[in-house]
Amino acid sequence: MVEKKKSGYWLTHLGLILGVLFIFFPVWLTFVASTVTQDAIIYPPLPMLPGTEFFENYANALFRGSPEGYGAKVPVIKMMINSAIMAIGITVGKIIISLLSAFAFVYFRFPFRNLCFWLIFITLMLPVEVRIVPTYEVVANLNLLNTYTGLIFPLIASATATFLFRQFFMTIPDEMVEAARMDGCSPMRFFFDILIPISKTNIAALFVILFIFGWNQYLWPLLMTTDPDMRTIVMAIDSMIPTGDDYAHWPTVMATAMLAMVPPVIVVISMQKFFVKGLLESDK
């Protein structure tokens, strides 16, 4: 650091702490609201410290679901399982198809290679929201509404992961392949025994980014799932708040909001190193 003034040092911390408070405050309120009774919420102001109903509210949400709203009484644990299946399906599916196609693009010469390359790369950055209506029709025609397959596959069709793996494979020294080929190593053996092990950090980084992407999907599951048992937690929470919003059972809604945040936040914090790497590299 260039200047070392005491006051500047404390002002820096003060500024950062204010930022942290602004980030934490809405979540803290949500947590408080998930630990009090309905009465404590509907007669404002809400207390600033947690109440005594923590176990009661979370047990209610997890195993009995919201008493009000459309598709009420579906236990939140069921929605969390659906979200987990969707998130992990998208993550694993995307990583597998991307590893395979990036391997083909970097380590082979085959007819129409450039054409295939461009076809896949055009899908970069065009989110499913843009072509939502026709995609819905495709999935409906394939009889995939209300299925995990229908939830997962349309969201795998994007090239971000392929792009990242391709960039990484390009940096691997050619001597690696040469040595492998000299030792009579087959392409698939090279893929499994050399390429995958040295890509571990990149796979972990993508895992974090894609898990969050998958868990937080909203519009697609909203259209896809008419069966209450197939709904994911992030999309279902909205329907727990009926339009005449006094009638929402707020402690359950807020407990559900906490439960929707906890898994991706845990993934980000526990895999922070990979998350930062994944974010800085995959979006560039």
Binding site: G19, I42, P44, Y107, V267
Partner: protein, 293 residues
């Protein structure tokens, strides 16, 4: 670009790219083609047959005051979200960068909201600003300010911008911090020795060196505000009141699924497709330029 050493054969690589190509065709190219195709047709009111109308859907859209209003809403919304979340992200990153110790702790404390879904962020802020029970609206009422975002368009707009920017600060913070830490300390020190104050250094050295990353973040944040904020809008306002928060992607959804106006919705999808296409091209131009540095 290409590797010098490679494996022989063509059927194995064909097999390897097949899954991704197949998924891209079924869930990307076919639906995108359908969107373009449908945008040229107009279904009759009973949905029995469709009539080819050429570019009429587009002509109608571009003269439809609701659509133009939605365009304006989207521009205001995405500008406000991008600028405010980037400004706060840069501010926090600049502070964290000044610390020798503790920047890592603040990084952990600031980045986790990236994991919160926009829809959940919407629920959080909706709860705070709920007209009857929300803490914020309660205190605002105490100050004599009537808060009711279900009736007042400007308040609704403010709330969706706030909720959308809040979760986005972490992302911008992380990128700006990485950018700031990549600036060689020797440059800053040289300027300090020459007597440049903190603000002078910030304005004439740091900001110009950060401009590539700022430009990149601007594009990414605009794309975020265009599409990913659907969840925020749907949970907080459902596009209302009186369409004051109906951004383009929300209109595609409400015209296509709620009103079942498929021709218009398809034409809107095509316009969005073109907009994102332009942004993507700009982005790639930027990446190319960065490689030449």
């Amino acid at each position: 670009m290409d590797k010098r050493v490679f494996f022989k054969g063509w059927w194995l690589p064909a097999l390897l790219v097949a899954p991704q190509l197949l998924i891209s065709f079924v869930f990307f190219f076919y639906p995108s083609g359908q969107a373009i195709w449908n945008s040229l047709f107009l279904p009759d009111p009973f949905g029995l047959k469709t009539e080819f109308v050429g570019l009429d859907n587009f002509r109608f859209l571009l003269s439809d005051p609701y659509y133009l209003a939605s365009f304006k809403t989207t521009i205001i919304f995405s500008t406000a979200v991008s600028v405010s979340s980037m400004a706060l992200g840069l501010y926090l990153a600049a502070l964290a960068d000044r610390l020798i110790k503790g920047a890592g702790v603040y990084q952990t404390l600031l980045i986790w909201p990236y994991a919160i879904a926009p829809a959940i962020a919407g629920v959080l802020w909706l709860f705070m600003f709920n007209g009857n029970i929300g803490l914020a609206s309660y205190y605002l009422k105490g100050l004599g300010y009537e808060w009711n975002h279900t009736l007042k368009g400007d308040q609704a707009m403010f709330l969706v911008i706030l909720a959308s920017s809040w979760g986005r600060i972490s992302y911008n913070f992380l990128f700006f911090l990485a950018g700031l830490q990549a600036i060689p300390k020797s440059i800053i020190e040289a300027a300090a020795i020459d007597g440049a104050s903190f603000w002078k250094r910030f304005g004439t050295i740091v900001i110009p060196l950060l401009s590539p990353i700022t430009f990149f973040l601007l594009v990414v944040n605009i794309v975020y505000a265009f599409f990913d904020t659907f969840g925020v809008i749907h949970t907080i306002t459902s596009g209302g009141p009186e369409q004051s928060t109906t951004i383009l992607v929300y209109k595609v959804f409400s015209d296509g699924f709620v009103s079942q106006d498929l021709g218009s919705s398809a034409a809107q999808s095509v316009i969005l497709l073109v907009l994102v296409g332009i942004l993507t091209v700009i982005q790639f131009k930027y990446i190319e330029r960065k490689v030449h540095y």
